[in-house]
C-alpha cells in the first residue's frame, strides 16, 4: 500500500525518478530524495530493526536522524541511520539484531521475561556457583551488540579537507540562516553547516502561523560570501573553535574565528506503556514525513500535545488526509494558541487534561488508551480506547546542545520553562541562537540569529551597525510539559529506547544507591546507547530529581562527549598517510634483491637476498667484509651539525666523553645519558673545525637527541647552533681489508694510514662528489664512512660498486653489520642497553670523561656507583658448543633469581662459535665465570664469560 501523498508535497523528493532497493529481501519502490526510512514508510513498512535488550520492534521516532530506532544493516556497514541514508538503486538493506526474521524474531521472547531482568541484572547474577560466568558470558555476549561487521569488506575512499572561516554557523534553520546573512552583510566569510539536504531547518517542515522567513534560504544560497555545506554534520567542537564536519566521504576540519551554534531542539518522547511501538512518533516526525517526503504518516491518528506545536501537527495531519481521531492535551487549562481556532474549525476532537496511558498493538500501534490525568504522572486506571495507526507526541524539547557541551559548558535547568538551558554568548568566539537557547518563537529565533551574526562581526572588528534587538519573549513558555512521564503499573513505559529501560529501571537503580546522575547512567546504562541520551536525558533527570528529592537543576546532567553523531573509522582515518623514509640508495637495494626491514620510519636492507636464504646470506656478507670488502648504506644514521664558539663545550655537557681538546680532523665516540644516568644514544663527533662538529646519532635516536640538544641549549644559552641534517646526507660505509684499495682511485685524499689514520676525519671528494670521510671501525675492519649530499648517494654507491668489482665487493645489510659489531663487542643502544642502563653496567666506563665538571647524567651515575654495580654486561660463549643457541632476551637465571638477560647472541662464522653479550650479576662477571641461560623449553644452557672484543682483540685490523 502506498502512503505517498497525492497532493504533490515533499520538497526533497523527485516524483519523476523512481528508485528501487531491497529491504529484508523485498523490493521497495521509492523516489529520488527519499531516505531508506521515508521510502519504507511510504510503503507502510514501519518495523526497521529490533531493540538491544528485549528485541522489541523498532520504527522511526524522529525522522531527523537523531534516534537509534532506525539503525539498519547494509552488507558492508552496520548501524546505519535509515532516516539519513538516501536510497539508491540496488541498495540492499536489512534490519538488525534479530534471530530468524525481522517480523518474527525468536529472541523477542526475552521481552516476556523482562521482569526477571531488573536494572543491572548482570551484576546480580551469572557468577554463582564459581565458574558459572564462563558459561553465561558467551551467551550474554551473543545477545549484545547490534549490527554485524563484514570482515571481508574493504572500506571505500575517504579523504579530508581543511576549511577556514570568519564565522561558522552550525544549523541552517531560521536562527542559523539569519546569523549567516547578518554576518555576511557585515563582510564576514561564513560557512553554514546543515544536516539536511536543503537548508531551512524547521521552515521546511513545521507549521508556522505566517511566513516571516520567506526568502531567507534563497538569500543565503545566492550570497558569494557564504559557503553552504548541506547534508553535512558537525560532529564535534574542539579547543579553539576547531570543528569536525562529516559530509559523505569527506571529513572537514574547520577552524573558525567565531562559531554560531543554531542547532535547534530535539523533540522529546512521552513516557507511557508501549511508548516504543512503531507508529508512535514525535510530532515533528509526522511533519517531516509530510512536507519533506510527501508521505502520509498514517490513516488514523491520535495527537498528544502539551504545546501549540502539537496543534500544528494535528492540522498538518488533517490537511494531509489523515483522520485525526483525537487531540489529547495534557494540560487541564491550556490557554488557546494560534492554532486553536483552526483545530476547532477542522472538527478535531480535543480532550484536555488527559494523557495516553497505554498504546496497543504488537508490531505497530493499533490503538491507544486515553485516560484522565489525576496527578503528576498519574492517569486514571481506566480510560477510553481509541483505534489509530499513528500516535504523534508533542510534549516538549531538549536543546540540541551537544556542541555547546563539548566546550565544557554544562546545561542548566529552568524550573519555570521546564527546559534545559544554554544560551547567549557562551565563551569567547562561541554563540548560540534559536531554539537551542529556548527561543521557540520564530521572531525570537530570527532576531537571536541576527544578533549572533552581528556579534561575530563586531568581535572581528567589522562595523556591523546597531545591535539587533531581540524580543523579551522567546516563546519558551508553554512549550515543555513539566512531567510527561506516565509510569504504568504493568511497565514497558520506556525512558530509553536504545537500551529498553523503563521508569522502574531508573527508580530501582536509585533505590540500589546509585543516586548521583552519573551513577544512574552508569548503573542502568541510560543514555549510553547509540543515541547517547538525546531522547532520555531530560526524563531521566526529572525522574532522578523526584526520586532523590532534589531539583532537576541540582541533579544536573552527565557529560556530553564527541562525536555528536557517530563517525566512521574510515572518515576519521582519511587516506591514512603513514610516512616512509627511503634512503637515496633505496632503489639500488631493491635492484640488488634486498630483503628490507623497518627501522623507525626508514626502510633498510636487512640482507641482500631471499628470506629463504637468510642465514646463509648474512654469513656470506659478514665473511665478505672480514676477508674482502663490503659496503653498507648508513644514510639512516642521524647527522647533526653543531656549530659555534661553544660547540665543544656544548658536546662536553651533553655527552659523557671529553671534547674540548679533541683535535680538528679527528672523530671521537659520543655516549649520551639522560638525567638519571641511563644510556640513551651513541655515535661519533667529528671535529671539522674549532667551532664545528659533525655528530652522528643512531637511526632511531636522532630525533630525540636533536630535541634534547635544543632543549638543553635553550637552558644553557651557549653560543652554539644545532641543526639536524640527517636527510641531507647519504652515508656509505666501505669496510674490509680491500676498502682502501677500492676507495683510493675514486678519492682525492691521501688515504695512507699515516695521512688519514684510524679515527681521522677528512673532507675531500669521492667520485667527484664533495664528501666527508670518517675512519671508524664499528665492524672492526679497515673502513671509511663516506657522507655525501643525498642527491649524489646513488652516484657514489655506483662508483664504489664498480671500483670494487675486481675485489669482489659485496653490499651488506643491517643483519651482517649486527653480527660484525658483535664480534667486535660494540653495543647497540636499545638492544644491549635498556631504559635504566648506565655506562658502568654496559662496560663503558672508558667513555666517561672523569675530569670534566659536568655532563647530563653525570651526577646520577656517580650516586649509583657509590652503591656498586647491580649488573654488568659481559661477553660470553657457550661451554657446550653443541648447546642450542640462546635467543636475544633469553634470561640469565640463578634459581628463582633473574640476574640479567642475553642482549645479543649469534653464531660467528669468523670465530666459528657462538658469541654473545649478556647482563649478569656482578659476582658472575669475572672472566671465566660460568652462568646459566634459560633457553626455549626451559632448558638451562651453560655459558662462560670471555674477554671482549671476541674478534681482533688488539684492534689491528681497523687501524690498518
Amino acid at each position: 500500500m502506498t502512503m505517498r501523498l497525492a497532493n504533490g508535497a515533499g520538497s526533497l523528493i523527485d516524483r519523476e525518478k523512481p528508485v528501487a532497493f531491497t529491504f529484508e529481501g523485498q523490493t521497495i519502490e521509492g523516489l529520488e530524495g527519499d531516505t531508506v526510512a521515508s521510502a519504507l514508510l511510504a510503503n507502510d513498512i514501519w518495523t526497521l530493526s529490533r531493540s538491544f535488550k528485549y528485541h522489541r520492534p523498532r520504527g522511526p521516532l524522529t525522522m531527523a536522524g537523531h534516534d537509534a530506532n532506525t539503525l539498519v544493516q547494509l552488507p558492508d556497514e552496520p548501524n546505519v541511520l535509515a532516516d539519513r541514508l538516501p536510497i539508491a538503486s540496488g541498495l540492499t538493506v536489512k534490519g538488525q539484531n534479530y534471530a530468524g526474521s525481522l517480523a518474527r524474531d525468536r529472541r523477542s521472547l526475552i521481552g516476556t521475561v523482562g521482569g526477571f531482568l531488573p536494572v543491572g541484572f548482570y551484576y546480580r547474577s551469572f557468577y554463582k556457583p564459581r565458574g558459572a560466568w564462563k558459561v553465561w558470558e558467551p551467551i550474554v555476549r551473543d545477545f549484545a551488540g547490534l549490527g554485524r561487521v563484514n570482515v571481508d569488506s574493504r572500506h571505500g575512499y575517504y579523504d579530508k579537507q581543511y576549511l577556514f572561516a570568519d564565522l561558522a554557523v552550525v544549523g541552517g534553520g531560521p536562527a542559523g540562516l539569519s546569523a549567516t546573512l547578518e554576518a555576511s552583510r557585515a563582510g564576514l566569510e561564513v560557512i553554514l553547516i546543515d544536516e539536511m539536504p536543503a537548508i531551512g531547518g524547521a521552515l521546511n517542515f513545521a507549521r508556522f502561523v505566517n511566513g516571516h522567513a520567506d526568502g531567507l534560504a534563497d538569500a543565503v544560497g545566492s550570497d558569494p560570501n557564504i559557503q553552504v555545506l548541506s547534508g553535512a554534520t558537525c560532529t564535534g567542537w574542539f579547543a579553539d573553535n576547531w570543528l569536525a564536519v562529516v559530509r559523505g566521504n569527506r571529513f572537514y576540519k574547520l577552524r573558525a574565528k567565531q562559531v554560531a551554534v543554531a542547532t535547534g531542539a530535539i523533540e522529546q518522547p512521552m513516557v507511557f506503556r508501549n511508548n516504543d511501538l512503531p507508529g508512535v512518533v514525535v510530532g515533528s516526525a509526522a511533519q517531516r514525513l509530510i512536507r519533506l517526503y510527501g508521505v502520509k504518516p498514517g490513516t488514523r491518528a491520535v495527537v498528544v500535545a502539551a504545546n501549540a506545536d502539537g496543534y500544528g501537527v494535528a492540522l498538518d495531519l488533517h490537511d494531509a488526509g489523515v483522520d485525526v481521531a483525537a487531540l489529547v492535551d495534557l494540560r487541564h487549562d491550556a490557554s488557546p494558541c494560534h492554532f486553536s481556532d483552526q483545530v476547532r474549525d477542522a472538527g478535531i476532537r480535543v480532550v484536555a487534561g488527559h494523557a495516553v496511558s497505554e498504546a496497543h498493538g504488537r508490531d505497530r500501534v493499533t490503538g491507544v488508551t486515553v485516560a484522565a490525568i489525576v496527578g503528576e504522572g498519574d492517569c486514571a486506571p481506566s480510560g477510553e480506547r481509541i483505534d489509530c495507526d499513528l500516535l504523534c507526541v508533542s510534549v516538549g524539547y531538549a536543546p540540541a546542545a551537544g556542541l555547546i557541551c563539548h566546550t565544557g559548558i554544562k546545561l542548566g535547568y529552568d524550573g519555570d520553562t521546564h527546559m534545559f538551558t544554554a544560551g547567549g554568548t557562551l565563551r569567547d568566539g562561541l554563540m548560540a541562537s534559536g531554539s537551542v537557547t529556548g527561543a521557540h518563537a520564530l521572531e525570537a529565533a530570527l532576531a537571536q540569529g541576527r544578533r549572533a551574526g552581528w556579534a561575530a562581526a563586531k568581535a572581528l572588528g567589522a562595523n556591523p551597525g546597531a545591535e539587533p534587538a531581540v524580543p523579551n519573549d522567546l516563546g519558551n513558555r508553554g512549550v515543555n510539559h513539566p512531567w510527561p512521564i506516565f509510569p504504568h503499573p504493568k511497565g514497558r513505559d520506556f525512558i530509553d529506547f536504545d537500551e529498553d529501560l523503563t521508569v522502574r529501571d531508573i527508580k530501582n537503580a536509585i533505590a540500589d544507591g546509585y543516586s548521583e546522575i552519573e551513577l544512574v547512567k552508569r548503573f542502568s546504562t541510560v543514555g549510553m546507547g547509540p543515541s547517547q541520551g538525546r531522547h532520555s536525558a531530560l526524563n531521566t533527570a526529572r525522574l532522578t530529581a523526584k526520586a532523590t528529592g532534589r531539583d532537576v537543576a541540582k541533579v544536573g546532567t552527565t557529560t556530553v562527549r564527541p562525536p555528536l553523531l557517530p563517525e566512521k573509522f574510515a572518515a576519521l582515518a582519511g587516506r591514512a598517510f603513514t610516512p616512509e623514509r627511503l634512503t637515496p640508495m633505496h632503489y639500488r637495494h631493491k635492484d640488488l634483491g634486498a630483503t628490507m626491514m623497518v627501522a623507525g620510519s626508514w626502510w633498510r636492507p636487512a640482507f641482500y637476498g631471499d628470506p629463504a636464504s637468510r642465514e646463509e646470506t648474512i654469513r656470506e656478507e659478514a665473511l665478505a667484509v672480514r676477508n674482502g670488502v663490503g659496503l653498507i648504506d648508513v644514510s639512516t644514521l642521524g647527522g647533526l651539525e653543531v656549530r659555534g664558539p661553544d660547540a665543544a663545550e656544548f658536546l662536553n655537557r651533553v655527552y659523557t666523553f671529553a671534547y674540548t681538546k679533541q683535535p680538528v680532523g679527528r672523530s671521537r665516540y659520543v655516549l649520551m645519558t639522560d638525567r638519571t644516568g641511563a644510556i640513551v644514544d651513541d655515535g661519533v663527533a667529528c671535529r671539522l673545525h674549532d667551532n664545528h662538529f659533525y655528530v652522528t646519532a643512531t637511526t632511531g635516536g636522532v630525533d630525540a637527541v636533536y630535541r634534547q640538544m635544543l632543549w638543553w641549549n635553550a637552558q644553557w644559552r651557549l653560543d652554539v647552533d644545532v641543526a639536524n641534517v640527517t636527510a641531507a646526507y647519504a652515508g656509505i660505509n666501505i669496510a674490509g681489508p680491500y676498502a682502501r684499495a677500492v676507495l683510493a682511485p675514486l678519492c682525492d685524499l691521501d688515504l695512507g694510514a699515516e695521512a688519514f689514520p684510524y679515527m681521522g676525519v677528512r673532507t675531500g671528494t669521492v667520485a667527484g662528489v664533495p664528501a666527508r670521510l670518517l675512519r671508524v671501525g664499528f665492524v672492526g675492519e679497515l673502513g671509511y664512512e663516506i657522507h655525501v649530499p643525498s642527491s649524489c648517494g646513488e652516484v657514489v654507491w655506483d662508483a664504489l660498486m664498480a671500483a670494487g668489482a675486481e675485489h669482489g665487493i659485496r653490499p651488506f645489510g643491517v643483519e651482517a653489520q649486527r653480527l660484525l659489531r658483535l664480534e667486535k663487542g660494540h653495543i647497540i643502544v636499545g638492544q644491549d642497553s635498556d631504559g635504566l642502563t648506565h655506562p658502568y653496567e654496559a662496560g663503558m666506563a672508558w667513555a666517561i670523561g672523569r675530569k670534566k665538571p659536568f655532563f647530563v647524567g653525570g651526577r646520577s651515575i656517580e650516586i649509583q656507583m657509590k652503591r656498586g654495580l647491580a649488573r654488568k654486561l659481559v661477553g660470553f660463549t657457550l661451554v657446550d658448543p653443541n648447546a642450542p643457541i640462546p635467543e636475544e632476551c633469553h634470561l640469565v637465571v640463578r634459581g628463582k633469581e633473574i640476574p640479567g638477560r642475553v642482549t645479543s647472541c649469534s653464531y660467528s662464522p669468523t670465530l666459528e662459535k657462538v658469541i654473545g653479550l649478556a647482563y649478569v650479576a656482578p659476582d658472575q662477571a669475572e672472566i671465566g665465570s660460568e652462568f646459566d641461560i634459560k633457553v626455549d623449553g626451559g632448558r638451562l644452557v651453560k655459558a662462560v664469560v670471555v674477554p671482549l672484543p671476541f674478534y681482533d682483540p688488539d684492534n689491528q685490523r681497523q687501524a690498518m
Binding site: 551484576y123 554463582k128 576547531w242 562525536p563 633469553h890
Partner: protein
C-alpha cells in the same frame, strides 16, 4: 535463567539491594580517611573492613564514586610485565580479580579473553621475548608467538606483509582479561559499606592538617575531619593532593584518551595491543569496541577530547583491521595519567607520618585495583609496608632503584 534473578520476577515490590547507602553527615573523626573514591580507594576500604576489622573509615571523593580514572580506563587486566617486581605485583592482582565476583557477591564480568601484544619491529620482538621469559620464569603464562598462532587466535587481524608495519610476532598472555570497570569500584564500595564504611561523594578535600610531621585531620568543603591515618588514592590529581600534604611527587600528569564504537555483534575475542601502531582494542560485553592509543603529547590536568587523537587512532585501527572502515565511533573521552619516570606506581610511606600514598598509576591503575587495595589496607593496619610493595616506595627515585616498566607499557608515551 540463573536463580539469582528469580526473586526479581516474582516479587511485586523491587527487592532493592542497597549497594551504596544514602548520603549522611560527616563525623568529627575517623580512624582512617581515604581520599579518593575510585576503585583503589573503595578496595582499600573494603580490605580494611573485611580483613583487618577497621570499619571507622570514610572514603571522600570530590565527584561521584568511581568517576575518575576508574570510569575512564579501558578495563584491561594483565600481569605480563617486564620486571620481576612488576610481574609479581600484577600477578597477585590477576589472582584476586579472578575470584572477585564471588568474593564481592557482585558480578564484575571478569572475562579472560587472552591478550596479544603485537611486535612490528625486531626490537619489539626482543622486548616481547624478554617479557615472555620473565613471566614464565615467575610462573605467569606468556609466550612469544608467530603468524600461524596469531592467526588462529585472531583470524580477522591483518597479518599480510604488504602493510607499512607488518606483524612479526606477538606476546600472547592467556590470562589477559577485561572486566566491567565500574562494577569493580561499586562491588568494593558495597562490600565496604556493608561493614559500616562511609562513602561521601561530592566532598572535595581542600587541605591536609599536620602536627609534628604527622597527619591529624583532613579539611573538606564540608568541614574538617580528624583522622588517625590517611590513604591518598587520587589518580590524576596525585601531585596536587600531595602538595597539600606538603611533599612533591615525581609525577607528570598527561591526558590519555579512549573511545568506543557503536555496539556490534561479537567478532573480536582477544585483546589486541600494538605499541608500534599506538592502538589497542577489545570488544566489550556490550559489543562495543573499546579503543585507545598513546598518551597526549603534553601534560595537562584536564580531560578534554581532541580530534587528532581519533584521527590517528582510527588510521592505525584500519591497519590492523581494514574491514572496520564503515564502523563508527560512538563516544570519546579522556582520563588523566599520573606518569612516573619508570612507568611503575608509587605506594607506601611518605614524608608525612601516617599519610600513605597510592599514586603514580599512569596507564596501569585499574589492573592493580585489588592488589593495591589489599596491600594498602595491610600497610595501614599493620603500620608496615609489605614486601610486595617495597620496590614501589617513593624513595626509590632518590636511590636510583627504579622499577623500569616502560617496555611493558601497552600505550605509547
Amino acid at each position: 535463567m540463573p536463580f539469582g534473578l528469580i526473586k526479581y520476577g516474582f516479587n511485586k515490590e523491587y527487592p532493592a539491594r542497597v549497594d551504596l547507602p544514602p548520603a549522611c553527615d560527616l563525623k568529627d573523626s575517623y580512624d582512617v580517611v581515604i581520599v579518593g573514591g575510585g576503585g583503589h580507594g573503595c578496595a582499600a576500604a573494603y580490605y580494611l573492613a573485611t580483613e583487618h576489622g577497621i570499619t571507622d573509615v570514610a572514603v571522600l571523593d570530590k565527584g561521584y564514586l568511581g568517576g575518575g580514572n576508574t570510569a575512564r580506563n579501558t578495563a584491561i587486566i594483565r600481569a605480563n610485565y617486564l620486571t620481576p617486581d612488576g610481574v609479581n605485583f600484577y600477578a597477585e592482582s590477576v589472582g584476586l580479580y579472578k575470584e572477585l565476583s564471588n568474593a564481592l557477591d557482585y558480578n564484575i564480568m571478569y572475562s579472560e579473553r587472552g591478550h596479544l601484544t603485537l611486535a612490528h619491529t625486531d626490537s619489539a620482538v626482543r622486548t616481547m621475548r624478554w617479557r615472555a621469559e620473565v613471566n614464565k620464569h615467575l610462573g605467569v603464562e606468556s609466550e612469544l608467538i608467530f603468524a600461524d598462532e596469531i592467526a588462529r587466535l585472531c583470524p580477522t587481524l591483518d597479518l599480510s606483509d604488504d602493510v607499512r608495519f607488518p606483524v612479526l610476532a606477538a606476546l600472547y598472555h592467556p590470562p589477559g582479561s577485561i572486566a566491567r570497570h565500574d562494577a569493580v569500584a561499586w562491588g568494593y564500595a558495597a562490600g565496604a559499606a556493608r561493614h559500616g564504611v562511609e562513602f561521601h561523594q561530592k566532598t572535595e578535600v581542600t587541605g591536609i592538617v599536620k602536627e609534628a610531621g604527622r597527619v591529624v585531620a583532613v579539611e573538606t568543603e564540608r568541614g574538617t575531619v580528624k583522622c588517625g591515618q590517611v590513604i591518598q588514592a587520587v589518580a590524576g590529581s596525585s601531585s596536587l593532593v600531595a602538595r597539600m600534604a606538603g611533599f612533591k611527587l615525581p609525577i607528570r600528569t598527561i591526558p590519555l584518551q579512549a573511545c568506543v564504537s557503536q555496539p556490534l555483534k561479537p567478532f573480536l575475542d582477544p585483546i589486541i595491543v600494538s605499541g608500534s601502531l599506538h592502538a589497542y582494542v577489545s570488544q566489550s560485553a556490550r559489543g562495543e569496541l573499546v579503543m585507545g592509543g598513546s598518551t597526549d603529547p603534553y601534560p595537562l590536568y584536564g580531560t578534554r577530547s581532541s580530534l587528532d587523537f581519533k584521527e590517528g587512532l582510527m588510521a592505525h585501527m584500519l591497519e590492523l583491521f581494514p574491514f572496520l572502515g564503515e564502523v563508527k565511533v560512538l563516544r570519546q573521552w579522556a582520563g588523566m595519567a599520573d606518569m612516573t619516570p619508570d612507568f611503575s606506581p608509587v605506594m607506601g610511606e611518605t614524608p608525612v607520618e601516617n599519610y600513605w600514598l597510592d599514586a603514580g598509576w599512569g596507564t596501569w591503575g585499574f589492573k592493580a585495583t585489588p592488589v593495591c587495595g589489599k596491600r594498602m589496607a595491610e600497610t595501614v593496619a599493620t603500620g608496615r609496608v609489605p614486601d610486595i610493595l617495597q620496590p614501589f616506595r617513593l624513595s626509590r627515585f632518590e636511590e636510583f632503584d627504579q622499577v623500569g616498566e616502560k617496555g611493558a607499557a601497552s600505550v605509547g608515551h
